[in-house]
């Protein structure tokens, strides 16, 4: 077990060193922004190597923080290069003009619901994002935000039930699972589609 861990650690560190090396060599800001993602993955890898429940609990916030930083940086990049006026439309690829995105999205969302919880939310959200990206929809952000907010509240409430009334754990479990599923799905759908709607 211990040896496996050390081997994995070695691999992750090598990956990290390669990513850092690339970062040092690269001079273009956009490419550095893309390379940063590789670096980020190495840090998640180190956490994942723990291989316990704790690791899962730690990866999620780590991932969220990483994504947030990446989004903030890309926003700054856009501002700094002055390319804010580009309107984001759907992807211009022939295949996804047909029904394929719909089917794939539905499959992903169903799979996400079956998985439930944070991972399920991520997958379902990915399905939604894929659909929105390929169709270039203008969806109602306020509604999505409200849904995300309410499901987050449900999730928190479930935690309080866990702590205060442990005998209702099953209800709380369902509340938490559904809440986090909806929240992550809604949030994932928001990511990348809120682009440039209202300038700062």
């Amino acid at each position: 077990m211990w040896q496996q861990y050390s081997l994995g650690l070695l691999l992750v560190l090598v990956a990290g060193v390669i990513a850092f090396f690339a970062l040092v060599l690269e001079k273009d800001d956009l490419h550095r922004l893309l390379l940063i993602d590789l670096v980020e993955i190495a840090s998640l890898g180190i956490i994942a190597l723990l291989g316990t429940d704790l690791a899962e609990a730690l990866i999620l916030p780590g991932l969220v923080v990483g994504i947030a930083e990446l989004l903030a940086l890309s926003q700054i990049y856009v501002m700094k290069e002055g390319i804010k006026d580009c309107v984001v439309k759907g992807l211009d690829i022939e295949v996804i003009q047909a029904d394929a995105p719909l089917i794939i999205s539905i499959l992903l969302i169903i799979y996400g619901i079956i998985l439930s919880g944070f991972t399920g939310g991520g997958i379902a959200g990915l399905g939604a994002v894929f659909y929105i990206m390929s169709r270039g929809h203008r969806e109602k952000f306020e509604l999505l935000e409200i849904a995300a907010g309410i499901s987050w509240a449900v999730w928190i409430l479930a935690f309080f039930i866990f702590m205060s009334f442990p005998e209702y754990w099953l209800t709380a479990l369902f509340m938490a699972a559904v809440g986090i599923l909806l929240k992550v799905a809604a949030k994932m759908a928001l990511v990348g589609t809120m682009w440039g709607d209202n300038p700062l």
Partner: protein, 217 residues
């Protein structure tokens, strides 16, 4: 060894742990004071002199920019308060990377080219610093089996190796620890006082805190 005084309040909220020693309380109050300043203060208007003449002009911060930056400054204050009082290594690293994002956010809305350039470069460093930062937390958990600073401070748990401590310090340095940021000095030249000060304040606070953490664990 008595590091920063005896903790006089330990708040255990499931596995979240908050503890207050005289040292962390001092830092917390300071962060709190500046967060309140950021909430209630209007931004300063930076005066610039027109070169070669007697004229001068005051840069104004527009309302929407002010709202955004105030929000970011408050978030930064909250994140540094969290980093200062938490008793859990992983939460500590999370709060510190939050501080890193918020620092970028505080100056992100300023439409001055060199400030944005500095913020971007700083952000790249901050993002790559998450590797040693989270790495240190994960390695601590892997080698000792706990993340609680109080547990780690006891003699019963396995000692945290100096390499891990060095990784932790390296990570915090990258996220903007006090004396090691060339890019940040450039960021401070952005107008809007109570907000840019949060950048500098948060980096000093996390510096002071990481010293304590490294000594305790």
């Amino acid at each position: 060894m008595n590091i920063a005084g005896e903790p006089f309040l330990v708040l255990e909220f499931a596995d979240e742990l908050v503890y207050l020693t005289p040292y962390t309380t001092t830092l917390l109050l300071f962060a709190l004071a500046f967060t309140i300043f950021a909430i209630i203060s209007r931004p300063e208007r930076q005066v610039d002199i027109v070169f070669g003449g007697d004229a001068f002009y005051a840069k104004k911060t527009s309302l929407s920019e002010m709202r955004f930056r105030r929000f970011m400054a408050i978030a930064c204050g909250l994140a540094s308060m969290g980093a200062v009082v938490t008793g859990d290594i992983f939460n500590f690293t999370l709060f510190i990377s939050l501080v890193g994002i918020c620092n970028v956010g505080i100056v992100a809305a300023v439409k001055i080219r060199h400030v944005q350039e500095a913020a971007f470069q700083y952000g790249i460093v901050a993002l790559s610093a998450t590797v040693p930062l989270f790495g240190a937390a994960a390695l601590t958990a892997a080698t000792t089996g706990t993340l609680s600073m109080i547990e780690l401070g006891k003699a019963t748990t396995a000692a945290v190796s100096p390499v891990i401590k060095a990784l932790l310090v390296l990570g915090v340095m990258g996220e903007g620890m006090a004396p090691f940021y060339a890019a940040k000095a450039e960021m401070f030249r952005a107008p809007g006082a109570p907000y840019v000060i949060m950048c500098s304040l948060s980096s000093l606070l996390i510096f002071l805190r990481v010293i304590e953490v490294v000594l305790v664990i």
